[in-house]
Amino acid sequence: MVRIEFLGPIGKGPMQMEAKNLKEVAKELQKDKELRKWLGECAVAVNDQLVQSLDIELKEGDKVTLLPPVCGG
């Protein structure tokens, strides 16, 4: 199981899912219509490291985080 967290304005509690890599996470999240509109503008972190590719293996207990557009200050 991996844990998916949705930050800031997405306003959605964390999910658990079975996924061997980020591609599987993407496929699963795309099924959720509400979420789909966020996917196009969210960056992704695996275990708090931002990633630039879906080609990333996941293991039990990994955390995948979705980060919508930011504006600090």
Partner: protein
Amino acid sequence: MLELYPGQLDVDKIFSRWRKWGEDKNYGAFITFVGTVRAEDKIEALSFDVYEPILAKWFEEWQERAQKRGAHLMMAHSIGNVPVHTSSYMAAVFSPKRRVALELIDEFVEDFKANAPIWKYDVIAGERRYARERSQKLKGSGLLLDGDQ
């Protein structure tokens, strides 16, 4: 050092503490940036969500970059509501000489705006509205929809 506070920053207190920290370290230049909530479009406050784990990593990378130039960075940010005309963000650079300090404060504040994992909301009539049109996509955004081409 990275400091997060609930609500508005006590700017004078933070400034004074940072200044005292640098006092005996032989820095010749100390620059601070203070960001204050402007009254516009009927907002009564801004509100912030902060994701600390990634913010802390981002800050540590900047601290290492600063140290290579003989400088040191400080930062403070608010979590939650910050009323109009009070401050939500402070950044500071100490360095032996002024050029490094002047360049670093600019680079650091700009990169903060583009990359710090913080989300801003306008508070209007007590309601929190995501400031989407002022927000910037992080690098790699859209990955889960488009894949990586």
